[in-house]
C-alpha cells in the first residue's frame, strides 16, 4: 500500500500489465525518453526497452491506425494521445475502424486497444489542451469509455481496460493528475468496467458525475450541508444505469455535473434515462450543471467556464427547493 498520485497509480498499472503480458506495448508522442509530457510513462522505456515503449511520428491518426493493426494481430497496444484536443486527427481511425472492426468482420478481427488520453481543463494550458469530448465517443457504438476520478480507481480501471477485449478510450483528468494522493494497493486489482461507485450516501438528492468534476461535487455537498448521494460513473460507456436509477428512486431528485458542453453531453443521456426509468419517482426535473455551449476559453477565463462548487450548490438548492 503506497500513497500515490493519479499519475503514479497509472504508471504502476502500466508496469504491472507490461510485466505480466508481453503483448502489451505503449506507443505515442514523447512517451519514451521523456516519459510523456505528464511523466505518466516515466521510466518505462528504460525498464522495458524501446520496442515496448515507442516514440512515434507526430501523427495521431497514424498512432491509432497502426495500433489497430497491432491489435488485429493479437497484441494489446496502449497508445497515448498527448491531449484530448488532439484526438481530432485520429477521430476517423477510432470511430470508423477501431469501433467497427469486430462487427465488420463478425468477430474475426477484434481490436483490444486502450487509448490513454489526458482530458479536461483547469491547468492553465493553451488552446485545445482543456476539452472534455467524452460524449462524442459515448455516442460511437463499438467503443468503451472510462474516466477515473481518483488514483485508486485509475489503477483498477486501467488494468481492466487493458485486459478488455474491445477498444477502450481511457480518459485521465489532468486537473487531478497530482492534486490528490490516495492509498493504492501494490498488487494488481481490477475494477469492472460499467460499474459506478457511490462516493457518499444521502437521501435528499443524487448527484451524478465523473472525472475531475467529482472533486467539485464533493466540495459542493460539503458546502450545502444537505444529505446528498454522489454517484461517480467511472465508466462513461456503458454507464451504470442501474446505480443511477436506484439512487434517484431513493432520493427523487438529481443533478448531473460535467465539464463538457451542455448540449448532447452525457448529462442529457443520463437525464433522459432517469425520466424514462424513474418518472413517477421524480420530485423535481433533473438538473444539469455543465460547461457552456461555447468553446472552452483560453485560460484567463477557463474557471468561468468550468462548473465549480458554487454552481453545483446553486443547482442543489434550486432542485431541493423545487
Amino acid at each position: 500500500m503506497a500513497n500515490l498520485t493519479l499519475v503514479q497509480a497509472i504508471n504502476l498499472a502500466l508496469i504491472q500489465e507490461m510485466e505480466k503480458d508481453d503483448r502489451v506495448l505503449l506507443l505515442g508522442e514523447d512517451v519514451g525518453a521523456n516519459g510523456g509530457v505528464f511523466r505518466v510513462t516515466e521510466g518505462l522505456q528504460k525498464r522495458f526497452g524501446d520496442h515496448r515503449v515507442v516514440d512515434t511520428p507526430l501523427a495521431e491518426s497514424g498512432i491509432i491506425g497502426t495500433a489497430i493493426g497491432l491489435a488485429m494481430a493479437g497484441l494489446r497496444p496502449v497508445p497515448e494521445i498527448q491531449f484530448e484536443g488532439f484526438l481530432g486527427p485520429a477521430y476517423d481511425q477510432i470511430c470508423s475502424h477501431a469501433a467497427r472492426m469486430r462487427t465488420r468482420t463478425r468477430g474475426a478481427f477484434p481490436v483490444p486497444l486502450t487509448i490513454r488520453v489526458p482530458v479536461g481543463g483547469g491547468i492553465h494550458a493553451p488552446e485545445l489542451h482543456s476539452d472534455s469530448p467524452e460524449a462524442i465517443y459515448a455516442h460511437t457504438p463499438g467503443l468503451k469509455v472510462v474516466m477515473p476520478s481518483s488514483p485508486y480507481d485509475a489503477k483498477g480501471l486501467l488494468i481492466a481496460s487493458i485486459r478488455d477485449p474491445d477498444p477502450v478510450i481511457f480518459f485521465e483528468p489532468k486537473r487531478i493528475y497530482r492534486a490528490i494522493r490516495e492509498e493504492v494497493p501494490e498488487d494488481e486489482y481490477v475494477l469492472p468496467l460499467g460499474k459506478a461507485r457511490t462516493v457518499c450516501e444521502g437521501d435528499e438528492l443524487t448527484i451524478v458525475s465523473w472525472g475531475a468534476s467529482v472533486v467539485q461535487c464533493m466540495q459542493a455537498i460539503e458546502k450545502s450541508g444537505r444529505s446528498i448521494e454522489l454517484v461517480d460513473l467511472r465508466t462513461i460507456y456503458p454507464f451504470d444505469v442501474e446505480a443511477v436509477e436506484t439512487s434517484v428512486r431513493k432520493t427523487g431528485r438529481c443533478v448531473v455535473v460535467h465539464e463538457a458542453p451542455l448540449t448532447c453531453g452525457l448529462g442529457s443521456e443520463i437525464s433522459a434515462r432517469i425520466m424514462e426509468k424513474c418518472f413517477l419517482h421524480l420530485e423535481a426535473p433533473v438538473q444539469r450543471v455543465a460547461g457552456f455551449d461555447t468553446i472552452m476559453p483560453y485560460y484567463k477565463l477557463e474557471l468561468e467556464y468550468m462548473p465549480d462548487a458554487n454552481r453545483v450548490v446553486r443547482a442543489i438548492n434550486d432542485t431541493l427547493a423545487y
Binding site: P57, G62, T103, A108, G194
Partner: protein
C-alpha cells in the same frame, strides 16, 4: 560552398511482357514456371468472369453496388503470387484476383457486396483483411500488422494495395511515414488506374510519377507495368525480399487502368472518352498473357474452351452458395458489437426497442424475438 547537392535519385520503370506480347527474356526467363503461369492465367480469366456475373446480379437486383476489377487483374495477382501465404495482404476493394489466389472464397466477396458482414469474416489463416470501403484507411493497419510481426520476431511482412486517389488521403502519408521511420517491413502498392471515380489522376498527383510519392520517406521506389503479370510478380518478389532482409518498406506504383465503370452505381461515359478506354483495352493483361502462352505453345483454343466451361460452373456454384446462405437473424447486428454485450444493448436486442416504456421484456406485449433470440446471442 554555395549551392551544393543535398539529394539525388532516380526511379526505374519495370516491364517484361508488353502489350504486343514482346517478352524480355533477360528479366523474364524462369521467373514463373509454366505450370504456375497457366494457373495465373486461369485465375485472371475467372476473376474477369466473376465481374461479368456480379454486374448482372446487381442489374437484376440480386446484389448491391459492386466495383468491377476488369483490367486490373494482374496487379494484385502478381503480388499475391509473389508473397508468402502468411504475409499480410491488406487490400482495398479492387483486388479480388489476389484475394482469390490467397484462398478467399468467391462467395465471401459476393456476400460483402450483397450487404452481409459475413462476407468480411476473413478466416485468419488467409492473413487477409476485410474489404476497405473508406478510402486510404487500410494502409495504416498494414503498417500495424507488419509492426506486430516484427515485434514478435516473425519473418512475416505486409503488402498493402490502394488506388491513385487513396494517395491523396493523409492516412496514406502517415502509413508510409510510420513504416519508413520505425523500420516496419511493408510493401506499399499503388494501383494507378488513372481515375478516382470521375476525378482524373492529375488531380490526385500532378508529379511525373506516383512512384515518387515514396521518395518523401526515403523509400526505394519502382514504377511497374501493372498489366504485365511478370512485372508485377518480379516487382513484389524483389520488394518483399528487400522488406524481409532490411525490415524497411518499399514503394511500388503499378500502372494499370479501370476498364469498367467505377462501380455499378457509376456511368464513366459522363467523364471519360471511349477512345481512352479502347486504347487501354489493347493493353489488357489477360489478352497479353494469352498471346504469350500461345506463342509458348502451352495454350490453345481447346484449353480456352475448357477453362471457360469450368469457370462458369465454379462461379455459378459460388453465386448459389452466396445466395443460399441462411438469411441473417434480425438481431444479428447486435451480436458482434462487443465480446460481451453490455446489459443495455442486451435489452435493446431483446426488445428491439430503444425507448424505455416496457423495455423490460416481461412488461412487453408480444415483443419480437423473445423466444427466438439467435444461439449466437447467448
Amino acid at each position: 560552398m554555395p549551392k551544393t547537392i543535398a539529394f539525388k535519385t532516380e526511379i526505374e520503370r519495370l516491364s517484361i511482357l508488353d502489350e504486343h506480347g514482346n517478352f524480355d527474356e533477360k528479366l523474364g526467363k524462369g521467373l514463373i514456371p509454366d505450370a504456375d503461369l497457366l494457373k495465373l492465367y486461369e485465375a485472371m480469366v475467372a476473376c474477369r468472369h466473376l465481374d461479368e456475373v456480379a454486374f448482372k446480379l446487381q442489374r437484376s437486383g440480386r446484389m448491391g453496388t459492386y466495383p468491377q476489377n476488369m483490367g486490373q487483374e494482374a496487379t494484385s495477382l502478381g503480388a499475391s503470387y509473389a508473397l508468402n501465404k502468411d504475409d499480410w495482404l491488406v487490400t482495398c476493394y479492387r483486388e479480388n484476383c489476389g484475394l482469390f489466389w490467397r484462398g478467399v472464397p468467391m462467395e465471401s466477396i459476393l456476400l460483402h457486396w450483397m450487404g452481409d458482414e459475413r462476407g468480411n469474416a476473413m478466416p485468419r489463416p488467409h492473413h487477409a483483411t476485410p474489404i476497405a470501403v473508406p478510402i486510404g484507411t487500410q494502409m495504416l493497419h498494414a503498417t500495424g500488422l507488419a509492426w506486430a510481426a516484427k515485434y514478435r520476431g516473425e519473418k512475416r511482412i505486409a503488402c498493402t494495395f490502394f488506388g491513385d486517389g487513396a494517395t491523396s488521403e493523409g492516412d496514406f502519408h502517415e502509413a508510409c511515414n510510420f513504416a519508413a521511420n520505425l523500420d516496419i517491413p511493408v510493401v506499399f502498392v499503388c494501383q494507378n488506374n488513372f481515375w478516382a471515380i470521375s476525378v482524373p489522376g492529375k488531380i490526385q498527383c500532378s508529379a511525373p510519377t506516383l512512384a515518387q510519392r515514396g521518395l518523401a520517406y526515403g523509400m526505394p521506389c519502382l514504377q511497374v507495368d501493372g498489366n504485365d503479370i511478370f512485372a508485377t510478380t518480379k516487382a513484389v518478389r524483389d520488394a518483399a525480399e528487400h522488406c524481409r532482409t532490411t525490415s524497411k518498406p518499399f514503394f511500388i506504383e503499378m500502372v494499370t487502368y479501370r476498364l469498367g465503370d467505377h462501380t455499378t452505381a457509376d456511368d464513366a461515359r459522363r467523364y471519360r472518352d471511349q477512345a481512352e478506354v479502347d486504347a487501354w483495352k489493347a493493353k489488357d493483361p489477360i489478352k497479353r498473357l494469352k498471346l504469350h502462352l500461345e506463342r509458348q505453345k502451352i495454350w490453345d483454343a481447346k484449353k480456352e474452351e475448357a477453362l471457360a466451361a469450368k469457370v462458369e460452373a465454379d462461379i455459378a456454384a459460388a453465386v448459389s452458395r452466396a445466395e443460399n446462405i441462411e438469411t441473417p437473424h434480425a438481431v444479428d447486428f447486435f451480436n458482434s458489437m462487443y465480446e460481451e454485450l453490455p446489459a443495455d444493448l442486451v435489452k435493446q436486442r431483446e426488445t428491439m426497442q430503444t425507448h424505455s416504456l416496457g423495455q423490460d421484456p416481461s412488461e412487453i406485449a408480444g415483443a419480437p424475438h423473445l423466444n427466438e433470440t439467435p444461439a449466437s446471442a447467448h
